[in-house]
Symmetry: D2
Subunit: 334 residues, 4 copies
């Protein structure tokens, strides 16, 4: 940590600061510049509260040198983490294809889609049971019943299943769920993260709409610091001024995360762009950027559905995309 002191700092205040740091086993070295003074901190600063330092009268600014996350940090864990979901592996060269509908709607729907995506190469089935919706008047998901249907689809197809948790008290319902998803809106629901850190199930942690990559890693750290190291990170678009897409899919975060953490990184192009026509190119782009997996919304197209033709990835497009992804991976890994 580097502390920049204000011009002509009060020597008494500087001494107080050094004494306080010494109490945390941190030594300091001062560099007098032309118009400012810099104090370098030597020791383990991960427990030093940067906001507290910043609030001191003598301090102009503070910069952390060490990353504030440890367990998620590649510096202390050089090789890629491989997360095992039964016999499916994610990370370290293992690519995971997750697919399924936005919401679980019915037994027929979820099993139908599950069979389709399994046939096309998906290893894991997604489907929302608890749905975070902006409006209280919108469909909130089948909740417990939705999880039961996912479990049925799992038994029928052998696919692993992933679904989103919204609240600690829902945890008992996730017994047979293979990966628990923490949605973007809950990325900083720290009480939930701590609770999930106490189980050993893989957690898919989605990046919040306006959260930095470092904050994503700090939220992973919350889970890991409680003992659960099975964390999969997921980029799903950030909020920017651009309105042509629902969110702005930040694919640069894939190589950034690959350099900063050993955890696997997957991409959700469906939520990232919000428009089905763009899911295919952005899926391929995510693979080329180095993602360890994709989570894609796939709808079935039953005869009696509202209007023939939802503008979403349909099973046939998903099948073609899945094959293309495999070709791409071969080229990239060569």
């Amino acid at each position: 940590m580097v502390i920049v002191l204000k011009e002509n700092p009060n020597p008494e205040q500087v001494k107080n600061l050094e004494r306080w740091l010494a109490g945390m086993n941190i030594t300091t070295r001062i560099i007098e510049g032309m118009s400012s003074t810099v104090m370098g901190l030597i020791g383990d600063t991960s427990r030093v509260e940067i906001e507290l330092i910043r609030s001191l009268d003598v301090v102009e600014s503070v910069q952390r040198i060490q990353e504030p996350y440890k367990r998620a940090n590649r510096k202390f864990h050089k090789s890629d983490s491989v997360i095992s979901v039964g016999d499916v592996k994610i990370g370290g060269g293992h690519f995971a294809l997750i697919a399924g509908p936005c919401s679980v709607e019915s037994r027929e729907q979820i099993i139908g889609i599950a069979k389709d995506v399994a046939a096309s190469g998906a290893q894991i089935l997604r489907g929302g049971a608890f749905k975070p919706r902006t409006s209280p008047y919108a469909f909130q998901g089948l909740r417990g019943k939705g999880i039961e249907l996912l479990v049925e689809a799992k038994k029928e197809t052998g696919l692993k299943i992933i679904t989103e948790i919204m609240e600690i008290s829902q945890l008992p319902l996730f017994e047979e769920v293979d990966i628990i998803q923490v949605g973007a809106r809950n990325m900083q629901n720290f009480e939930l993260l701590k609770e999930l850190g106490k189980c050993q199930k893989p957690i898919l942690l989605k990046r919040g709409l306006s959260n930095t990559i470092q904050e994503l890693l700090m939220s992973a750290e919350y889970i890991m610091s409680e003992g659960n190291e099975n964390v999969i990170l997921c980029e799903r678009g950030i909020r920017t001024f651009e309105t042509a897409t629902r969110n702005t899919l930040d694919l640069s975060c894939v190589p950034v995360l690959n350099s900063q953490t050993h955890l696997p990184v997957i991409v959700d192009p469906s939520h990232g762009v919000g428009i089905a026509d763009y899911v295919r190119p952005m899926s391929l782009a995510a693979v080329a950027a180095g993602a360890d997996g994709l989570i894609i919304e796939v709808h079935n197209d039953p005869e009696n559905a509202l209007c023939d033709g939802l503008q979403s990835i349909k099973p046939d497009i998903f099948a073609e995309l899945s094959a293309k992804i495999n070709e791409l991976i071969l080229i990239l890994r060569k």
Copy 2:
């Protein structure tokens, strides 16, 4: 709701759409433009899922005309809501001054500050018991003990008290808390909002870092739709590219909210700018913009605290600011 159809829409698909809307008691009218066709919807569209419409093959874009919130909407509730917190009133011309430390740290600290801010004109005491912290290694608050100390301070000074809830299971601890705060990170924790909608305590709902004004109103609607209409909105800064301040305090949201909702709006300049020197001007600016109250972090300055002089608003500056705010209100209301 206005639906723009794609060029040369499939008449069969258009009919399907109209039939489906008719089933929801919505009639349609078509306008054929030069190069596009617009379908206007007549009826109560608040339950129509805009995402679903947008996903249809024939649809190019959709625009909601009616606001999707009802109970929070000024159109259906013309006069200002006044929220009563015991004998303290907020909104409709009643200005509320809320002050106190970031975190409750000790009995002495909280009672000392409570007396100071009460003497300067604050009616409500703030203080964090459960602290949402980006890092799992940072101080997480005194939790239950912190609430007990706030209650003591309330008894000692007669101030009302407000503190933040982070999780539904904490609710029983809030018995004697006068206003329950929902922090920015929980603005879209819908399960929590629904639960808070079942009690009758005033809820201070903070705007999320990257949430739009409309999303803030939708979250208020979650609470109100369960029966609790005592919602106070709070602007506390949004996340932008600017790094000179911790967040960008969006004061324009005060007049925007004043025109769109009857709920009171207060401003948190301390979190909004993150730098004590800017709290005073931004407090005055918030008052001038039409806020119904302020929530300000005030620290005490005990002799033995770490380094003499935290760069935060101290009781004497708060006292001067409080007096100036009163003068300002007189001028503005004239």
Copy 3:
């Protein structure tokens, strides 16, 4: 400047870096931390290219300690700059009220409005002659003719005039213009800034839609480094994810600028919010935040204009607002 070196830096590369810095009269001091090495630079680093340093193999990150602007920096010029526009002064306690229409449309229009705003207390008349428009098919302004009409209005009313330049070659037309405005889209048109630095007219420099406060100061520095120190800064809203207002007026930038620079700061609430109803509260908020002036769009309301009632500040509302601003300034300066 503080340079953080990579883990186990190559000693040869470190020596090369130190030798190169020494050639610029900069000495270095090394602090060895637990898991990283910090190099502090002592000397005038304003000419050191931070991007170049950052691109070096041994460097992990670089932080500038000294601000990269000098002439605009309050550290080297403690007292407020007062910009004189004839007998009108801006800054250092002198508040400037600038008002007028978006575009100059006709002789009658501009002189009518000029008389109105002069009667209400404005000292300076604004009006666009060259209009930067997103669409090539939109009205591009009266251009040279517009400036002539502004000059007529100036002669008629005694108001000073301000209008926007878009291109170096237009400069000769600005002979009788009192303040030259650089619009948000040209804030980083460095060739234009350098040219304006060679004249002595006051320059109103608007902040770009996505420019940081520091970049605004660097653009002021461009003008000042060529010899023209008469720069007035102007906040007019930044681009964020919020769409309820045209832009997000960043009023926090007023106290930030007041602490970092001696140059006067004015606010443009009209472009900042884009909706007339919100101009009044945001004008008052800007004054309370400490602005040295306001630039407000005021329309006249001739009988035969398109539809009776443009949703814009009309002269009577401006008159009331101007009086309220004066009351506010009295309270704030007490």
Copy 4:
């Protein structure tokens, strides 16, 4: 265009509006909703000023249905535009690889790099002569001399050359330049765009840091409306809250642009991420997203340069990347 009228609109004002629109050959149709009235406009609305409509007393909001750009619009020009730069083609299946240093520094440097990148498959050489720099104290480029050196490199290698213009008066120096680049900061320098519309050289138009995709197309329209249809669009990162990368490369804009315009789209990963290690994955991602070309910064590595080892793409990495891109294109086009 669809106009939403305020509740209980004044019939006189509505009639005025309709009369005014009729004068522009636009007919209207009214749809009365439950709590609002919608007016649909039929006719060519590209010249209707949306801001003017929005400012009317009776109007609540306005939505454009037709895109405001015509010449750039794929609706009116279904097939891909192919831009010819001598015998090099860009767009419509022709992939262009542009490479070279950030700035032209010397004869040796530019010719050395030119030979390297030509050998690796680049068809076009980039290199800055006029450099837009945030600080007036930073190197501003070799200017006219830089262009001369680029022309020499062109003669030596047969590569086409591209370099950035900053000001209309520099245009005569661009005689032998093959593609004129308009930088991000000048994307809305409308006077410059209009001037470039009068020549027939290909223009590479970079997206501004905070400009929407639609604004980029409107700026292309400025050039095209003056007669020059040889416009190449370039994504180079937008400004967001994330600081881990210099900008946020918005790759979704590639498929969005591909659907909205017939113009070719290239990507600049070097400026997009600002960190050399991430250029390779983001280049591959851009290709997979459907880009028609890449513009990449490549540095040479002469023995005596400052510190051996700039952290930038070096010729050998570029060579490997170029080969990989070719493999990728083969797979994607299959």
